[in-house]
Amino acid sequence: MPTPDPEADVASLVATATGRTLGASLFRGKILAVGEGAPADCIFIRAHRGERNQPFVGSSQTLWGADVEVTVRGPAGDRESARATATTVLHALQKATSGGGFSGYTLALVVDGVPEDLEQDTNQCHLFAVAVTVQWMA
């Protein structure tokens, strides 16, 4: 996998910021239902293609971009817990820098001021989403 890997790097940053463990309470990829390999209180991280990349004149390097979505699911019926975790994630990702453990990126920006409320799932777990835009040269 060429570096950097936005999904893995955001997952690492979020794990540090929230004290979660990858594979136990933090997962990369699609949202897993409660009881299907994931607990209720956990975080899912998934990278999406971002804006169009920008090749440079006469250089093998390109400016790449991606959007990474972090979805926080809280314990059943506990909206505040999920919202607090999502806010922690938002602040950790907004303007994350190499000095803060997010190296290799030119830019990290969270556009939204608060986590997006995705309402409850069928298990009464509240969901909140934070999207971060990252850019890097490679």
Partner: protein, 137 residues
């Protein structure tokens, strides 16, 4: 056959010699090679048409780039701005070894930084020599 712009190569050397890969300017998002010639009006009263003759030529290229001060090529342009010295810009439109070249001074390099993007620089150049050719190696 058309040529992809990202294959073009732009070099800068501090002496009038053929460039090598270590002379590349990196981070360029846009480069323009702008040769032009003044039109001198030689018509006189009573003539039905405007007559013109070719005036002196000039070439003022410009380089738009992500600001990379540690890059060798961009660093040479910034140094040349400070000293006023002539540097040579070599442009290979198709990325091959055949280059167009011109000696230039750097008139300025405005930097732009905004809260939602990366820092960019625009190097404004003015020719001090005639256009020539060079061979990259």
């Amino acid at each position: 056959m058309a040529t992809a712009g990202y294959q073009s190569k732009v070099y800068v050397t501090t002496t009038d010699t053929g460039p090598t890969s270590s002379d590349l300017i990196n981070g360029i998002t846009s480069f323009s090679w702008s040769p032009s010639r003044a039109k001198l009006d030689t018509s006189v009263l009573g003539e039905a048409f405007t007559n013109a003759m070719a005036g002196k030529s000039t070439n003022d290229p410009s380089v738009s780039a992500l600001y990379l001060p540690a890059d060798t090529g961009q660093g040479r342009l910034i140094t040349a701005f400070g000293s006023g010295a002539t540097v040579w810009v070599h442009f290979s439109p198709d990325g091959g070894t055949a280059c167009l070249k011109v000696g230039v001074i750097v008139l300025g390099y405005p930097l732009k930084s905004d809260q939602g993007g990366v820092v960019t620089a625009e190097y404004q150049l003015a020719s001090t020599t005639a256009i020539g050719t060079s061979t990259a190696s």
